[in-house]
Assembly symmetry: D2
Homo-oligomer: 434 residues x 4
Amino acid sequence: MTSNPWTADALVERYDQVRSHTERLAAPLSPEDQTVQSMPDVSPTKWHRAHVTWFFETFVLAENESGFAPFQDKYWFLFNSYYEAVGPRYNRAERGVVSRPGAHDVGVYRGNVDTRMRDLVATLDQGALEKLTSTIELGFHHEQQHQELLLMDIKHVLSLNPLQPVYAGAPEPASEPDQLGWVDIAGGLVEIGHRGAGFSFDNELPEHQVYLEPYRLADRLITNGEWLAFMADGGYRRPEFWLSDGWAKVKTEGWDAPFYWLNLDGVWLEHTLNGTWPVNPGLPVSHISHYEADAYAAWAGKRLPTEAEWEHGVRQAGPGEDPDSVGNLADTESYHPRAAGPATGKLRQAYGDCWEWTSSAYLPYPGFHPAAGAIGEYNGKFMSNQMVLRGGCALTPPGHTRASYRNFFPSAARWALSGLRLADGGAPTKEVAA
Amino acid sequence: MTSNPWTADALVERYDQVRSHTERLAAPLSPEDQTVQSMPDVSPTKWHRAHVTWFFETFVLAENESGFAPFQDKYWFLFNSYYEAVGPRYNRAERGVVSRPGAHDVGVYRGNVDTRMRDLVATLDQGALEKLTSTIELGFHHEQQHQELLLMDIKHVLSLNPLQPVYAGAPEPASEPDQLGWVDIAGGLVEIGHRGAGFSFDNELPEHQVYLEPYRLADRLITNGEWLAFMADGGYRRPEFWLSDGWAKVKTEGWDAPFYWLNLDGVWLEHTLNGTWPVNPGLPVSHISHYEADAYAAWAGKRLPTEAEWEHGVRQAGPGEDPDSVGNLADTESYHPRAAGPATGKLRQAYGDCWEWTSSAYLPYPGFHPAAGAIGEYNGKFMSNQMVLRGGCALTPPGHTRASYRNFFPSAARWALSGLRLADGGAPTKEVAA
Amino acid sequence: MTSNPWTADALVERYDQVRSHTERLAAPLSPEDQTVQSMPDVSPTKWHRAHVTWFFETFVLAENESGFAPFQDKYWFLFNSYYEAVGPRYNRAERGVVSRPGAHDVGVYRGNVDTRMRDLVATLDQGALEKLTSTIELGFHHEQQHQELLLMDIKHVLSLNPLQPVYAGAPEPASEPDQLGWVDIAGGLVEIGHRGAGFSFDNELPEHQVYLEPYRLADRLITNGEWLAFMADGGYRRPEFWLSDGWAKVKTEGWDAPFYWLNLDGVWLEHTLNGTWPVNPGLPVSHISHYEADAYAAWAGKRLPTEAEWEHGVRQAGPGEDPDSVGNLADTESYHPRAAGPATGKLRQAYGDCWEWTSSAYLPYPGFHPAAGAIGEYNGKFMSNQMVLRGGCALTPPGHTRASYRNFFPSAARWALSGLRLADGGAPTKEVAA
Amino acid sequence: MTSNPWTADALVERYDQVRSHTERLAAPLSPEDQTVQSMPDVSPTKWHRAHVTWFFETFVLAENESGFAPFQDKYWFLFNSYYEAVGPRYNRAERGVVSRPGAHDVGVYRGNVDTRMRDLVATLDQGALEKLTSTIELGFHHEQQHQELLLMDIKHVLSLNPLQPVYAGAPEPASEPDQLGWVDIAGGLVEIGHRGAGFSFDNELPEHQVYLEPYRLADRLITNGEWLAFMADGGYRRPEFWLSDGWAKVKTEGWDAPFYWLNLDGVWLEHTLNGTWPVNPGLPVSHISHYEADAYAAWAGKRLPTEAEWEHGVRQAGPGEDPDSVGNLADTESYHPRAAGPATGKLRQAYGDCWEWTSSAYLPYPGFHPAAGAIGEYNGKFMSNQMVLRGGCALTPPGHTRASYRNFFPSAARWALSGLRLADGGAPTKEVAA
């Protein structure tokens, strides 16, 4: 995790930006909304708000504030997510039974930590500041991850409510998918991983060489309209397209459409943060598992890209390292993926629409070393039974993602804002007999 | 379900009393507290508040209000507890994921139905009033049952919170158990079941004859102090005291004390609605399952009474039909069972401390007929795999219980405010070999 | 458990009869058949054969044989079913993973214990014989219970085999149900429980008084043909007939017919020990749960009898105490219930066709005392969450049942050979609104 | 799947060899042993024997035998393991309830198919022979995989039997681990995957280039003695060594030693196919999950090799492509891994002791194409949530494995004969803070 040089003022300004964005996302949610945990993977909104605060209190204040005392002893236990080295922690699946502290109490906790953080940074000399910056900057990116999760989670909570509540915004106008184009990439022995002076997580390091055969990538994401064609052709009924584990899920879970789709009298509707609306054919398909993405690719006679193919391709033929050049959430506040727009001969929708499933398992890069101490638990210990997703999505906060960013979820996860982009050539293609 | 003659004014006055009591019980609870469902058996406070309102809207207003329209269509579905005849209903185990309507929205719903109920009663002629009274009166008793459940449920919710919140009140001063006395009852062919003009549920009918051998009942409930002696003698480690199903629970659930007890550095504490305090030896033991009550009786060389023995005994040698003569919740607001007080030669603690497990399965009385229509689902369909409890408890609202009242829970249930009274002679005694 | 006076010769002769019958029942089963445990409730045939042998070794030989040593130390642990007082025991649900001892090894074990039992009885003086007789006689009845279970269990094992194996015999010719008649019984204060000098289990004691309103019983069991009418009228789709727990089972288990029925292209077939055949309308319906029996009675506007009504009724208006007068399994070897035969004005099919569900929970009789020591675990500790069945069935060995016999299963159990007889008048009738 | 040129005679001779070896492995097992399924992952011995026969009947005879008719229609359904394209199949987890066909019936089935296979091969002309050979050869390797599984599975079955049965053989004499050495490998752009004319599975293809940093491999497997040191240092109690999913397993499953170890009064014993014996410090540790292997490597400050590192390393510095040069099962019949023997400067124990966990997820090679039709389901559809193991083990039949062989199991699997070899340098190393 490398770090930019920061002044104290710039650090506080960024701190305030990030922290305020969290509160702005929580603002439309009632105390009751903020309390619910709708499944074990989901955390209550007020837990997210408290946990990201606990991160600063634990990893910055506890070791640097003079005369440090925790805001509340029990919060230490309640708002630890998974750091074994910090001590015992509250059972994740039961976050939804903790009604207190309430939403307002969490606001008080946030304000207290904010004041202490500002005070701490103001009193640091340059040397101390430099030492602390990388942890504080990690706290920014950690909080941004939880901003995205907060939205994914509340989307799930509201989806189960028969009153069909709207979080914010209005739906996109109906549109039709345009032609899918392909972009050729040469491959060879290429560099993969984070480079340069900016921030990255430890799992993006070290930069290293990978050999790639020539390949090509679709120039946009697969759309709802194309997904409907897959469904109409028996996509969810024909085992020949599916990984064995995926087919087992289809049968045991009764999957017959993406996660938030529901069929009302023959019409497919989709639950979104903007409300429940007819499926829009021109928008990217979203909330699909890795199994579904893989089955679609098999049906299409194509495959998913590896994560190295994705990263190299986006650098060579897409928006490059810097997602801010293509814009995302900040522009629209739709909280939903958008249509691809006209073809450009480059890779479209790489950062701000859907996280893209790859065919790569989430494993350490050659030479990977987690950081020492509790912070070292951040990424490495999750490198098991998960697949990598690349890009970013409509819920990703501005400034949070990049070409080397490695997101990850289990193959069956569907509540994340995930979609797919096809690949072809070079690497694995599944071929299904007629 | 028989019914007193009521005037319209008296009916409205009682309606206001019952409805206000519910809101008073919910008042100390935050919107977040009211949202949580801590296990499938528990319902959120705001669900209780809405469901009892739905009962009046469905069974009184829908059939009698001119130009009836539901307050909110979806509430019809959300707040039906188990009435199959009313239509589909929301899955019980997922009441805790419904953040909306919120606590305040439920208050608005309650106010709307209250106004319409008052308007309806004001416009009824005497004949219509007489026809409706029994349903409205059932609504009172239904709401009172939920007042008790609301308190049992929030006790469970708060027990899981590491902050150890207090609902209300202060604990009783520490006291020691006095001597346990016995009261002899003659038995013979006796009358069991509800009699007279007052209200009862259908499961208390018809009054009928049962033959009882002579027997005796303990003159008070078993105390925490006596329970500690049972524990010290291996009560939770010796299978010879236990029903087979009960022993299986001891092993799989790790039972080693009553439900809300926790051992902190060798001291037994008890979670109560007044906070968490050292176990008080003179108070009745509470929150025990039928299995534990039965095992205690076996250990003591005694047995539990049958429900007929309890009912006949309380009429002959206790406070009789009318629990108000002995006082309960209304007097103390302790929300907790109290010490027995000095011996009187009669049966003490019969109504206002703990529901008392009997050895009787919850089954229909000879000649039992459920009411016609959806209301007939009130009691009869639950007559399976449950045991009868008699009396009342510190959470039972004033005017709600009586000698013939049949409460019921599964043998393993522990979150209800349940205790035990021993019986001897006449009916079954378990004898354990040394 | 009272006991007849036995000579040593008579005891050995009876011992040989009972023991041989077990081996005869196992004879058609291969070593593989005898190994399978098809669900936790089912035990492998060779386990049954060994367990009943262990009973004699543990409760007779261990305490009376001079120089006793167990045949095999580990068998002590493997073949204990549930006696806590005897020591640790092998997990019931995993009996099917124990391939050794094999079927032949179990035969060797049986022969060894048989020899030692005969030797022991031959050497006892009259006083010692009298003391031991009741335990040996309990062993006979225990083994007979397992003979019945062995058949119920292997029926389940074979039912899951796609090859549809036949255990024995040939099916009954197709027949139509005759008219259902009713027999009136006066009731009053009647005697219930075992009487006289013959053997009984402890749960049939003590004889005691029960008050019964006048009632009537159907003169035969409900038939498959009548059950088909219930199904055709939506019996498995209409919640108004069902106990709440029963309806939950209908939904979660997908019940739509009795346990061993399967629908092949619109025709209902039934798996039996004689093979798989079209459902025979004139035979008693069998392998139904208590929930289904109760729902049928509700649909028919009738009810199930209490166990006291059944016992008193069979003594007054049926075959009396002695089932051998009406014949059962020994006559036919069909291992299946038979048609009722012509009406006689008395109660038919009381002992040798299907165990009859009653509306009574399995609870101790007034004054019940289990025996001291491990044998006391035989019945009493199971008096929880089970319903009483009365009569006997086509799998019950000759000489095993009687009017006071109390069989018991959980309400949802379906693999026992259970059926139903309707009652009316006096006691509870469920009334379903149109 | 490429294939050697075979004559008809050579094909029949090899067929007889492979088929006989299966029967020889089953010979010490009783019909009861062959019936048991001790957990869902385990298949009964007689199922293995039948399933490998079904493979030849389905994929060779059905399409080539003139006038083909299946030996038994229902076997088609019973003995299909997972081929969706062949039709419905029997539920895997319930293989243990199918007592028929019995062990002898399966022998008859095997004989029948053997005769027909020989007849078929005898009648083929050269062109037809060439076309069929690759499927028949696949059948050989398929049967060999099941020979290995048969032994792993029966090891599990017998491990649960309190009589502690021995399958065969005698234990190795106790030995101490020698020094662990390291072998340096240069890396670079290397070729991975099957090459040459011999047989391989489709998942070993295509041969392709991978870039490797320089690295080194341990010259032998980790021993039981070394594992005891890991345990003594808190290996199973310190979360810092573990992947998050692995630590969850440690807690929920109570892992505290390898799968077949049991602690009797402070002494560690190990269940083996030779009986239950004290753990032998000089033998390779076995029956560990990927999680345990990974945790050990973290504790040792090393890592697991990637599958490419393993394959390239074994070719460069070990026994090469051909495992027969180092010997395995055929030599010893110990059915257990052996001590490493003296150091040689090369990689020892690569093929005949324990399957070696790698750090690579089981995913398709670049350009992988499954075969068309049902045979295409052989490997590709399992490329999800599994880790690759390399080498071979003491249960692997002679001639079955090779340098490019990719075995795979889920990270938590422990009943396979799996061990670990450490790697260092180049690729990922986990570093645990003190």
